[in-house]
C-alpha cells in the first residue's frame, strides 16, 4: 500500500544533482512488498532491505533554495541568541523602566531565536526531506488466545505455589495486617491544623474595642463621619497586622440620614445613623467592597451578592443566602466609636456546624 507521494521523479534538468556514485534512480519505487513496514517483524536473515526512504527530495533546485533559506534562518537564530546573552549582560534590572527595557530585549531576542529555529526546521522538513507516505500494519492489540491461555496457566500455577488461595488464614491475616498501615497516613495528617471548635463563631470585637479607620488607622468620632452616603472600612484597635483576626473582624460603617435606617437593622446598635456590618461576605468570604450611594446597596465584587444597607443588609440579589451580620456599636468616654459586643452571630461564609 505504501507509495511515495506524487512527485517521485528526478527532474532531468536538475543541475545541482551531484554525481553520487552508483545508486538507484531517485524516486523509483521499490517493490511494494519490501516497502511495507511490518511492525517489528524480523527482516529475514538480516538481509539489508531495499531503501524505504528516498535519499533526496524530488526537486533538487528548490531544495537548494530551501537550504539557503534555512541556513539564513539558523544564522538569524544564532544572532538572536547572541543578542539575548548581550542583553542579559548589558541591561540591568532594578527599576520599572530598566525591567521593561530588559524584558523587551530578552524576550524579543528569545522570540526571534526560537522563531528562526522553528521556521528553519519546518522548511527543512517540508522542502529538503523527500516526501514519503508509508504504511505500517497494525496488529490486533489483544493477545492471541493461546498466549492468554498460557498466561492464565502460569498465573494459576503461581497462585497454587504461593498457597495464597489454599490457605485463607494467611490471606485474611495478611489483608488485616495491611489495613491499619493503609489508614495510618491519613491519621498522620491530623496535625495539619487545629480543630475548628467554636472559633468561627467569634471575632476579636468585644465591648469597648475602638473602630479604627482601615487606611490611616485612626479612631473615629461620629462627628468625623458626618456626610451621609459614604462607606468606611474599619478594623478593631490592636489588630492592625493580624490577618487571622481581620479575616473575620473586618467591618464597614455607613452613615445614614435620620429615619433612613429601618428594621431589621437593629437601631439600638447604631450611633447617629451610623451602622456597622461585617465586611466578610456571607457567600464565600470576599470583602464586600463596593457601595452604591444612590440605591444604598452593598455589593460584593467577587460574585455580586448585593445587600440592602438601610434594611439590615438583607440580600437583594446574588448567591449569598444571609444578610451581613450587624456589629453593635456605641461611643466610649472620649466620644470615639467602639463596639459594644462581638457580633451576635457567626460572620462570613456558612459552615456545617453554623446552624
Amino acid at each position: 500500500m505504501s507509495e511515495t507521494n506524487g512527485h517521485g521523479e528526478l527532474p532531468g534538468d536538475a543541475p545541482d544533482a551531484e554525481p553520487a556514485g552508483p545508486h538507484r534512480v531517485i524516486g523509483t519505487p521499490p517493490p511494494a512488498e519490501a516497502r511495507t513496514l511490518l511492525g517489528d517483524r524480523e527482516p529475514d536473515g538480516g538481509k539489508v532491505a531495499p531503501r524505504e526512504l528516498p535519499a533526496d527530495p524530488a526537486d533538487l533546485r528548490k531544495a537548494k533554495a530551501a537550504e539557503r533559506l534555512v541556513a539564513a534562518l539558523f544564522i538569524l537564530a544564532m544572532l538572536a541568541g547572541i543578542g539575548f546573552i548581550a542583553a542579559y549582560i548589558g541591561l540591568p534590572a532594578g527599576s520599572m523602566d530598566a525591567v521593561l527595557r530588559s524584558n523587551l530585549a530578552l524576550g524579543g531576542s528569545m522570540s526571534v531565536a526560537f522563531l528562526g529555529l522553528a521556521f528553519g526546521a519546518t522548511i527543512w522538513v517540508r522542502h529538503l526531506m523527500p516526501d514519503v507516505e508509508l504504511t505500517e500494519a497494525r496488529k490486533p492489540l489483544a493477545s492471541p488466545a493461546a498466549d492468554r491461555a498460557a498466561f492464565a496457566e502460569t498465573f494459576a500455577e503461581g497462585a497454587d505455589a504461593s498457597q495464597f488461595v489454599k490457605r485463607p488464614l494467611l490471606r485474611r491475616t495478611l489483608i488485616a495486617a495491611t489495613l491499619p498501615i493503609a489508614v495510618a497516613p491519613i491519621v498522620l495528617l491530623r496535625d495539619m491544623g487545629p480543630l475548628p471548635g467554636t472559633s468561627l463563631r467569634h471575632t476579636v470585637w468585644r465591648n469597648g474595642v475602638r473602630l479604627m479607620e482601615d487606611v490611616t488607622y485612626t479612631p473615629i468620632r461620629p462627628a468625623d463621619f458626618s456626610s451621609p452616603g459614604g462607606m468606611i472600612t474599619v478594623i478593631p484597635e490592636g489588630y492592625e497586622y493580624d490577618d487571622d483576626a481581620l479575616a473575620k473582624a473586618a467591618t464597614i460603617i455607613i452613615k445614614f440620614r435620620p429615619g433612613q435606617l429601618q428594621p431589621p437593622t437593629v437601631l439600638n446598635w447604631t450611633v447617629d445613623g451610623i451602622v456597622a456590618y461585617s465586611k466578610i461576605c456571607t457567600h464565600v468570604g470576599c470583602p464586600v467592597s463596593l457601595y452604591e450611594q444612590t440605591t444604598h446597596h452593598i455589593l460584593c465584587p467577587c460574585h455580586q451578592s448585593t445587600f440592602n444597607a438601610p434594611k439590615g443588609a438583607e440580600v437583594v440579589f446574588g448567591p449569598a443566602a444571609r444578610p451581613l451580620p450587624q456589629l453593635p456599636i456605641t461611643t466610649d468616654a472620649e466620644g470615639y466609636l467602639v463596639a459594644s459586643s462581638d457580633y451576635h452571630e457567626p460572620v462570613g461564609p456558612s459552615f456545617w456546624e453554623r446552624g
Partner: protein
Amino acid sequence: MAIDRALEGVGGFLDDRFRGAKGFRTLFKKIFPDHWTFLLGEIALYSFIILLLTGTFLTFWFQPSMTQVVYHGSYTHLDGVRMSEAYASTLHISFDVRGGLLMRQIHHWAADLFMAAIFAHMLRIFFTGAYRKPREVNWLIGIVLLTLGMLEGLFGYSLPDDLLSGAGLRILEGVIQSIPVVGTYLAFFLFGGAFPGNDIIPRLYILHVLLIPGLILALITAHLFIMFHQKHTQMPGKGRTDQNVVGAPMYPYFMAKTGAFFFFTFAALALASTFAQINPVWLYGPYTPVAMSAGSQPDFYMGMLEGALRVMVPWEWNVAGHTFSFNVFVPALLPLGVIFTGAALWPFIEQWITGDKREHHVNDRPRNAPTRTAIGIAVITFYGVLWLEGANDVIADHLDIALYTTTRIAQVSMFVAPVVAYILTKRICLGLQRKDQHLIEHGVETGIIRQLPSGEFIEVTHPLSEEERAKLGSITPPPSLPAPDSADHNGIPAPGSHGAIGKVRARLNSILTESIEVTGSNGHGNGHGGPGTDGNGHAPGEHEHAAVPAGAVPAGAVPAGGSQEASLGAGEAGSSSDDGGGSGDGAGHDGSGDEDSGYRDSGYDGTDN
C-alpha cells in the same frame, strides 16, 4: 562516511552494552500519521516542559513564606509596605532578577496555554471518537490530567500572595467550608487553622512544585507510552484502515517536525511574554483580608467555576443545627463534576448503547457521529455560558448591560442554550452528511450545462478524487443491537436487551446512531441502522434533480448517448453498494433508474422502498 564511523563508535559502544539495534530500528521506523489536530496534545506537552524549565528558574528566588516583612526593594511604589515574604520575593524576581519578569510571564502564559491545549486536545479526541476502544484508558488519564492541571494552576497563581490570588484562596476556603459534615475540618486542616493562617502558601508551594507536577509527569509518561504502544489514530483517507497506520516514519520526519513544533511553542510563549503583560502582581498589592478590588477574575480555566458560583440562587437550609450551603457547594462541585464524570463514563456508555466492542483506529469525522457531536457542542455551550458568567461584571461593563441582567440571562440560557445547540448541531451534521452523500453520488458541480444529442440538458459534474471519496465515505456504522426482548434459539435473551432496560437501550441506540447513510468507497449494507433512521427514507428522494438525470458524468466524456454516459456514473455508485454486500434496501443505488430518465426514477424508488 561520518555516519558509519559514528555508528561504529558510539552506536557500537551502546549496543555492546544494551543490545538496542533491533529495538531502535523498530522505533525509528514507527509511523506517525499527520493531521493538524494531532498537534494540540503536543502543545500541551511542550507547554508542560516549558513550565518545568521556567518554574525551576523561579524557585531559585521565590520564598514560599507568609512571614510579614516591610518592603524596601526596587519597586518604589510599594516601599515601606508590609507584605508576606512570598509577595516580596515575587517582586524581587520581577524587578531585581534579570530575566525574572520574562520567566515569570512565560511561566504564567505557558500555564494558560497548557490548559487551553488540554481542553482543545480533549475536544478533538471527543469529536473524532478517538477515545473509543482501545483508547478508553488514555481518555481517563487525560481527564485526570485536566483536573490536576486545574489544581496546579490554581495553586500556582495563589503563590505570589497578592490581593487577587488571596481572594481566590478566600473563595477556596469558603467553598471547602460549605461541604457538608467535613467541610469546616477540611478547611482548618488545609489552612492550618483559621483563614489565612501562616501555612497555606508553603503547603500550596510543595504541592505545586513537587507533588502535582510529579503526578502530571507520571501520567503524561503513561499517556505517551500507551499512545505509543497502541499507535496513533488516523483521520480517514485513502488507504487508511483500522488495520494500518499511514504516515511518515518517526526518524527523521516526526523528530524534526516535533522539534520544530517545540520551538514554535516556545517562540509563541516568548512573544506573548514580551509583548503581553500577564498577572502584574505589583499592581494588585499584597494580600489583605480587608480589601478587594472590583473586576476580579480567575485564570480562564477556573472561570467556569466562578461563573457557576455567580449564577446560583441563594439556597441554604438549616436542619437540626446544621447548614447546607446549596448556594456554594452545588455550583462548586456539581456542574464540573457532572461534566468530568460524564466525560469519563462516556466511552463506556457509548459502547453499551451501540454494542460496539470493536477496535477503532480510524477517527470519525464529527459530522458522521451527529448525536455525539451534538452532545459535545451542548456541553461546550453549557460550559461556555457559565464561563462567560464568570466574567459577567466585565461583560456588563463593556457592553453596557445591567449587571443583574447578565446573571439572569445566564440563569436561563445555561438550560436553554445547550438544548438549542444540540438540535442545531445535529441538524447541521445531518445536513453536512447529506452534502457528502450528494458529492459521492454526483460528484462536484462544475457549473457546465451540456446538451445531449437527444436534446436533453444535463449539468456536468466532476467525480470526486479517490482521496476525497475515501474521506467522505469513511463512516463506519455500529453493529446492530439485538432487538429488545429478542432471544437466541435457546430462548435466552441477549444480555442488556430484555425488559425495560432493553427498551431504553434500543431507544438510546436509535438516537445515538442517527445518521445519514453515507455510502462511499468502503460502502456497507444499511440493515444496521435500525428502523426509522433518516438514511433509508430520504435517499431516493434526494437522489436526483428533477428532470436533470445527470448522474456522475465524467467531465469531458463524449456522450455517445445518454444511457452510455449515465451508466458510467451509475456503475460507480452501484459498485460501492456491492462492496458492502449489503442486504439493505440499496437506497441511493438505484443506478438502473439513472440510466433512463429521472422521471422514472422516483416511481421505482417509491415502490422499492
